[in-house]
């Protein structure tokens, strides 16, 4: 006999893109007041050069979110290499925030303290998850390329697994900044050209087919992940949370759709309909979850 699945909670992932500071602040104010999410991860994950702009306003955002009843998690840089980047992470750990580690250096510095793990750490099996749980992880957002058949095995019996459910999926990180490279400027003199593309810069094939999106040193998919048809399966598999990764569209609406879907107030078809009328940067996809190419569109697969 199987237990009824628990209520799926919703996590708002960190803003991956370089939003202007006022947009960023306004976004979190609205999330605090209106978005039906349980947990909010924030912090600069992609590029440490953007960090000073975030640091100026982060306390205000954290305060506002906590007053709005959200659990706040500080999400760390996914590819720290410089000494000062490591030190900044160490400072946040020492400040006592709940940390979401996005690379193994951060796990090392956490030294067994309870923490979350973001989708940038390689956890592909139940055995790898067990290692991280033993090291203090209490919540783990799995890498976006994992198919449902793996998620089922990983999520069973631990109440720790979160799945990337909405937004452009992060695919890769590099030491090189492609925004700077495409604009012909050096990374060290980048003039923050990435700020122009609030959903990432579209990358098309030579024959004009949309393919990737570039966000500084990060590459994402062009399509927008929308794990709607599998929400019941995920809940039944023991997944405890869905991650919604911010895009420039109305994220309060996105969160409301996923809340209603998880509560079975609307069907997946209705959810897809509601999402697809939003001004999204690409078409909806659940290819990765189905074990297909991540670029495969929702419409192309029954």
């Amino acid at each position: 006999m199987s237990k009824a699945p628990k209520r799926l909670s919703l996590t708002l992932g960190p803003v991956l893109f370089n939003w202007p500071a006022d947009r960023w602040v306004d976004f979190y104010k609205r999330v605090a007041d209106e978005a039906p999410v349980d947990r909010v991860c924030l912090g600069e994950v992609v590029c440490s050069k953007r960090q000073p702009f975030r640091d100026d306003v982060i306390l205000e955002a954290v305060d506002r979110l906590e007053r709005g009843g959200k659990e706040v998690v500080y999400s760390t840089l996914a590819l720290p290499t410089m000494k000062r980047e490591i030190q900044a992470i160490r400072d946040m750990i020492q400040a006592g925030y709940m940390i979401e580690a996005n690379d193994i250096s951060t796990v090392q510095m956490l030294d067994g303290r309870p923490h979350a793990i973001g989708p940038f750490v390689n956890i592909y099996s139940e055995d790898a998850l067990a290692q991280h749980l033993a090291l203090g992880a209490t919540r783990v957002c799995l890498p976006p390329e994992l198919p449902l058949r793996s998620i089922r095995l990983i999520a069973a019996g631990n109440d720790a697994v979160e799945v990337f459910a909405f937004g452009r999926a992060p695919l890769a990180l590099s030491a090189r900044c492609y925004h700077a490279r495409s604009h012909g400027v050096a990374k060290d003199a980048c003039q923050f050209v990435c700020e122009r593309d609030i959903d990432g810069m579209d990358v098309l094939t030579m024959d004009g087919k949309p393919f990737f999106a570039v966000n500084g040193i990060q590459t994402l998919g062009h399509v927008v992940t929308a794990v709607t048809r599998e929400v019941d399966d995920l809940a039944a598999a023991g997944v405890v949370a869905l991650r919604l990764s911010p895009q420039s569209c109305d994220m309060v609406k996105v969160a409301t759709v996923f809340r209603d879907l998880a509560d079975a107030k609307i069907t997946p078809e209705e959810a897809n309909e509601m999402l697809s009328v939003l001004p999204l940067p690409g078409p909806l996809s659940d290819g990765f979850l189905r074990g297909l190419p991540g670029a495969r569109l929702l419409d192309e697969v029954d």
Partner: protein
């Protein structure tokens, strides 16, 4: 036969994609070869490559008889529900006499350390340990003896990492294919094809590559996405996703990286000077003639350095003929 290694500078770690390739690399002067089983446990899981159990035992014996070491790569991430396949790989490689296992998955590392306490373990580049803290994580928990550093670092960063890593050794790539993304953390291939380095041990796999003629050009695609157009008079290279030409902000360019390969021979003295233990040559998928030429040239360079003389940079340049080369991220301007 290998020359006696009394003048020993850095260790030269060379690719062995097949049993014949292993013998070629050993005969050409490799101090160590690296190879893997013909299954999803290794990150070069291509048809026609790699070793079955018997070939592995015989290959390792061949290397040992000639004074070379054999490093066995089991460097993919364990598939959920399939840990036994990877565990068997570890056990068989140990039984076959591997001098070290090259591992990336935290659970497999934990298993290898527990099941084979004395076995030497190396951390694969696929684990992307790019900071002193990341290296300490694996060194202090699992007694990792050597870490293969990501290709996203500058020489200055390599120097700092090598100093912090001790007693754990460092190994760096010096020649061959160049990943421009942080290794082991790249899903471009699964996005386009459903097959990825982390999950299936392949990148931009041949099964998903197609070529078609279009007017004056040969058009190469991966998973149905056009990646490169070769004009009729230029050689058609392999369409790796991150080396393709794309349209962004109104301009067509090699957005991520030009179709170049890594050649860090000019940096060997500096890398050795900062304490790097081993130089790695990429290319388990390469032909025997290529491997022989590259291994011989690098062995000469390493021996020349060890004898305190200047190395001949031009010789290796010739091997990248027809293809441009780069020192990649090792120089900061690359970023």
């Amino acid at each position: 036969m290998n020359a006696p290694s009394t003048l020993r500078g850095p260790e030269l770690v060379c690719p062995a994609g097949t049993p014949a390739g292993l013998r070629t690399a050993v005969d050409a002067g490799a101090h160590s070869i690296y190879c893997g089983y013909a299954d999803e446990t290794n990150a070069r899981n291509f048809p026609g490559l790699n070793f079955d159990r018997t070939e592995m035992r015989e290959g390792i014996a061949y290397a040992h008889e000639r004074g070379a070491k054999a490093l066995v790569a089991l460097n993919t991430f364990v598939r959920a529900g399939a840990m036994d396949i990877w565990k068997r790989g570890v056990d068989d490689a140990v039984a076959a006499g591997a001098d070290a296992l090259i591992l990336a998955d935290i659970a497999l590392i934990a298993y290898a350390r527990q099941a084979h306490p004395k076995q030497r373990l190396h951390l694969s580049v696929q684990a992307a340990a790019a900071t002193p803290e990341a290296i300490a994580f694996y060194r202090d928990r699992f007694s990792i003896a050597r870490v293969v550093l990501p290709r996203v670092l500058t020489v200055e960063e390599i120097a700092r990492l090598t100093a912090h890593a001790a007693p754990c050794e460092t190994e760096v790539f010096v020649f061959g294919g160049l990943c421009v993304m942080a290794e082991g953390r790249c899903m471009l291939s699964s996005y386009a094809t459903g097959k990825s380095p982390n999950m299936t041990g392949v990148c931009s796999p041949p099964s998903h590559v197609a070529y078609r003629d279009e007017e004056d050009a040969l058009v190469a695609s991966v998973g149905g996405f056009t990646v490169e157009r070769f004009s009729k008079d230029e050689p058609a290279g392999y369409p790796t996703l991150c080396k393709g030409r794309f349209l962004a902000d109104g301009t067509v360019s090699h957005l991520f990286e030009d179709p170049v390969s890594l050649n860090a021979i000019e940096l060997l003295p500096r890398l050795a000077g900062v304490g790097v233990t081993a130089f790695k040559i990429e290319g388990r998928q390469r032909g025997r003639a290529y491997v022989a030429a590259v291994v011989q040239a690098f062995r000469r360079a390493v021996d020349t350095m060890a004898a305190g003389r200047k190395i001949d940079v031009a010789e290796l340049r010739a091997l990248t003929e027809g293809q441009r080369d780069t020192t990649g991220a090792y120089k900061k301007a690359w970023r």
